[in-house]
Symmetry: C2
C-alpha cells in the first residue's frame, strides 16, 4: 500500500489531503473514492486511510484502521560521512534510509577532495531531505531520517551517543576482526537490559581519515572497526554496517 508522511500528530474526523499528497495520490497513483493508503503521523503512528470524497481540486480521507508495526531499527543510528569525490550523498541517503538509518551527517573530511559550496548547503540539505522522505515512504518506514551538515569533524556534537565507531581501513588491513562483533554484542545487551542506546558511525572519504582526525576521534572514545577484508567504496561501507545492525538486532 502507498505510504505518505504528514507533519501532524492527530487526525480529527476527516483529513483533507495536503497538496503534495493530493498530487501524488490522485494524479500519479490515480486513486479513486474508496482507495486506501497508509499515513504516518509525526508521532510515528500509522493509520490506514480511505478516500471518502474526491473533487477536481481536493480529496478527503478517513481513518479505517491503525497499524501496529515495528519497522525502525531498535538502536537509532546516525551515519556520518565525509564528503566524497563523486558526491554520493544522494545515493547514501536513499539506500541508508531503506536500511534504517535515523540521521545522516555530512562533513568536510581533512582528505575530502570535493567540498560543498557554502552557498549551496541549504539547497543540498533540502534536496537530500526530499530523497530521505521518498525513500522512507517507499521502504515503509515510520520515521523520516534527518540531514545535517558540518564544516569539519570537530563541529559535530557526539554527547548523545552511547556507542561511537569509525570505519577504519587501516584496522581492516591489520586484520582487525573483533570490534564490530563486540559492538553488536554490546548493542544486543543494551537492548535486553532496556538501556537507551544510540549509535554514530563515521566513514571517511576516498583518502581515508587523517591522523589528526584519528587522534581527535580517539580522544572522543570512538572505537575503530574493520569491515572485512575487501576494500569498499566510501558509499558502500555505511550499507554494510546498517545491514549488520538489522540482522543482529531485528532478525537475531
Amino acid at each position: 500500500m502507498q505510504r505518505y508522511f504528514i507533519d501532524s500528530s492527530e487526525i480529527v474526523d476527516e483529513l483533507i489531503l495536503p497538496s503534495e499528497i493530493y498530487h501524488h495520490a490522485i494524479r500519479v497513483m490515480r486513486m479513486q473514492e474508496g482507495s486506501t493508503f497508509e499515513l504516518v503521523l509525526r508521532n510515528q503512528e500509522i493509520a490506514v486511510m480511505q478516500i471518502s470524497k474526491l473533487t477536481k481540486e481536493t480529496a478527503s480521507a478517513k481513518v479505517i484502521n491503525w497499524l501496529q508495526q515495528t519497522v525502525e531499527l531498535p538502536v537509532p543510528t546516525t551515519i556520518a560521512c565525509a564528503i566524497s569525490k563523486s558526491d554520493k550523498a544522494e545515493w547514501i541517503v536513499q539506500k541508508g534510509t531503506e536500511l534504517g538509518a535515523s540521521k545522516f551527517i555530512f562533513f568536510n573530511g581533512e582528505f575530502s577532495v570535493a567540498r560543498w559550496d557554502q552557498k549551496k548547503v541549504t539547497k543540498k540539505i533540502e534536496r537530500l531531505s526530499k530523497v530521505a522522505l521518498n525513500a522512507a515512504q517507499q521502504a515503509h518506514r515510520s520515521k523520516v531520517p534527518t540531514i545535517e551538515y558540518y564544516q569539519d569533524i570537530t563541529a559535530i556534537d557526539f554527547s548523545n551517543y552511547s556507542h561511537k565507531i569509525v570505519a577504519y581501513e587501516e584496522a581492516a588491513k591489520k586484520g582487525e576482526k573483533n570490534n564490530l562483533t563486540k559492538l553488536m554484542m554490546s548493542l544486543q545487551d543494551s537492548r535486553l537490559l532496556a538501556t537507551k542506546s544510540e549509535l554514530i558511525a563515521i566513514f571517511g572519504p576516498e583518502g581515508g581519515i587523517s591522523t589528526k582526525e584519528v587522534n581527535y576521534l580517539g580522544k572522543q572514545n570512538f572505537i575503530f572497526v574493520g569491515l572485512g577484508p575487501r576494500i569498499m567504496r566510501a558509499e558502500t561501507a555505511p550499507l554494510y554496517l546498517l545491514s549488520i545492525l538489522s540482522f543482529t538486532l531485528e532478525l537475531g
Copy 2:
C-alpha cells in the same frame, strides 16, 4: 596499491604489461620505473610487481613479492536477480563485487516489467563483466565474478549449490525472522566441518516472485527468507545479504 588482473597463471622472469594494463598504469596512474602494483593471476595468486623498464610504447615489470591474503568470501555466493524496471544490473554488479559475490545471474522474472533485448544480451554481459573487473580491482579481490543470463528461472542449473534461498517479501511481512539466522548458522557449521558449501540467493523484480516461481523454487528445496521489517528496493536486498555473509563468516 593499484591492483590488476591478468589472464595467466604464471609470471616467468619479466612481464611485459598487456596493453590495457599499460594504458591504465602508465597513462592514467602515471607510474614510473620503480613504481609498484599488485597483479592477480588466474590461479588467484597475488604478486607485488615493480616496473623495471619503461619506454614510450611498452613497460615491463618484475615480481618483488608474493602476497598471502584471504579476501574472498569463505562461501562462494551467486546473486541471481530478476531483471528490474530501471535495470540496476550495473549497480548490483559493482556493489555486489565489492561485497564479495562470486557470480551474478540475471533472468527474466515472470513479473519483470523490463526485459533484455535478446540481440543485446552479449553486449550487456560484456559490459557487466567489465564493471565486475573494475570493481574487483578496486575492492582488492582475488577473483573476478562471472556474469550469466537466462531466459527464465527454470533455465538456471541449481545442482551445484548446497544452500539455496529466495528473498521473499511475503515472508518478511508475516514476520519471518529465523530463516536467515538458521542459514548463517548452517554456513558457519559447514565451515567448521570443512564441508564444501556454495550459496545461491534469488531476488525478484519490483513486482515480486510469482506464485508459479514460488512453487517451482519450493520444489527445488529453496528456503524462503525475510530480510527484516523494511521494504528494500530490488537492488538493495542483495547487498544486505552479502554484508551479513561477510559479517558472519569473516568477522564472526
